[in-house]
């Protein structure tokens, strides 16, 4: 890696807070989902937002920290799962895909301008949140089950509609977050000249 990555204190706390958000998104009953009683996994929404808001390095780090805690035995995955087991089961590829995906989302959204553009966010979430995650998850699934890869890919189509909805929700949330609290997106380099104006009022 040619570029040296160094996290400032402000990045560290953001990484920790975003890892915690991903964890909370998996707690049962913590998140209302369209009034539906069916548990929908929204943790990959957290992973998409980590990439969008924190950028490639810190975003991937936030997902990684979350997964290290899951590995260490905290039951933080949706449905109270956790432990080393999930990294050796058929879902291992998806978990690796989350880290890489958050990085890719950060790259796509983060290049150039500071204000997130909706199409960049949407494109980033589709590429990083769906293509990368499926692209790493399905081969591992097929390998672990020693099943043909094309058929495993076909059986994954079931999850596509839900993930497309999550891309839309992630885009809506990112743009709303920019309006509510633009400092969220400020990168470390710009932090010294941080906007001093008190944060926009929280409406909930």
């Amino acid at each position: 890696m040619a570029r040296k990555v160094r996290f400032e204190l402000r990045d560290l706390t953001r990484i920790a807070v975003f890892s915690a958000i991903i964890a909370v998104l998996g707690l049962p009953g913590a998140i209302p989902i369209f009034g539906s009683p069916v548990p929908i996994v929204v943790q990959n929404l957290g992973m998409m937002l980590a990439g969008v808001v924190l950028g490639p390095w810190a975003g991937a780090a936030a997902v990684l920290v979350f997964e290290v805690l899951v590995f260490a035995g905290l039951p933080l995955l949706s449905g109270g799962h956790g432990g080393a087991a999930v990294f050796f089961g058929p879902t291992a590829g998806y978990l690796i895909g989350w880290v890489v995906g958050a990085f890719v989302i950060g790259l796509i959204v983060n290049t150039g301008t500071r204000k997130p553009q909706w199409w960049r966010v949407a494109l980033g979430c589709v590429v990083g949140g769906i293509v990368v995650v499926y692209g790493m998850g399905i081969p591992v699934l097929a390998w672990v089950l020693s099943a043909p890869i094309d058929k495993m890919a076909l059986s994954n189509v079931v999850y596509l509609p839900g993930d497309v909805i999550k891309v839309i929700v992630a885009t809506v949330i990112s743009l709303a977050l920019w309006r509510a609290y633009p400092q969220s997106f400020v990168r470390t380099a710009a932090v010294t000249a941080r906007v001093e104006e008190p944060a926009a009022h929280v409406s909930y």
Binding site: F18, A20, I21, V53, V68, L69, A72, G89, I173, Y204
Partner: protein, 198 residues
């Protein structure tokens, strides 16, 4: 928060965390490499039985672990059953189930701090290439203590919306959660800086 650790004094409980992870990786590799050969399943079964006996757990704990991953098993079966002969699908799922149940042994017999320490130690050689393992430790500890705070924010927002009779929707819920959380993170950074961290 309920940790998945079960206290005990068995051989496996006393084995260092790092060694357990390495041993488990070797075992799971052996089972996976054996793959669809006919002796993969018996091999996996032997590993599981020996593993649970070494940890001092009985059939009941094993059954509990199998039950805990029932959705995963269902997911595997559904993914395969349409395309593969049923016997092959069940065999594959059983083999993976064995690896998953074995991995659970690490979690069942190792305290979380011990595993975090092992991760810290494993990262130490990476200091030469610039990985700050102390920062990693701080990060992990900070995340664990932040989870209840964020869960508290989530509860506050949910109750405020309910009190106003607002419709609970993911987007209207997530934005205030993110704003509150990111402000909290900036406060946390200021507090750490004030205490001279870094």
């Amino acid at each position: 928060m309920i940790a998945l650790y079960r206290p005990g004094t068995s051989l496996l409980h006393r084995t260092p965390a790092g060694l357990k992870v390495v041993l488990f990786m070797l075992v799971s590799l052996a089972i996976t490499v054996a793959g669809s050969t006919p002796w993969a399943l018996p091999l996996a079964l032997v590993f599981v039985i020996v593993g649970y006996l070494l940890a001092g757990f009985g059939a009941r704990e094993l059954a509990r672990q199998v039950f805990a991953v029932r959705w995963l098993v269902l997911f595997m079966l559904v993914a395969q059953i349409i395309f593969l002969p049923p016997l092959v699908a069940v065999g594959n799922a059983a083999r993976v189930l064995a690896v998953v149940v074995l991995a659970a042994l690490i979690t069942l017999t190792t305290r979380i701090p011990a595993l975090l320490d092992a991760i810290d130690r494993a990262l130490r050689p990476l200091r030469r290439v610039g990985v700050n393992s102390a920062a990693v430790g701080l990060l992990l500890a900070m995340t664990i203590t932040t989870i209840p705070v964020i869960a508290g924010f989530a509860a506050t927002i949910r109750e405020a919306q309910r009190a106003r009779g607002a419709k609970l929707r993911l987007a209207t819920f997530a934005v205030p959660l993110l704003v509150m959380s990111l402000k909290h993170s900036d406060d946390l950074a200021d507090a750490l800086a004030a205490r001279g961290v870094e």
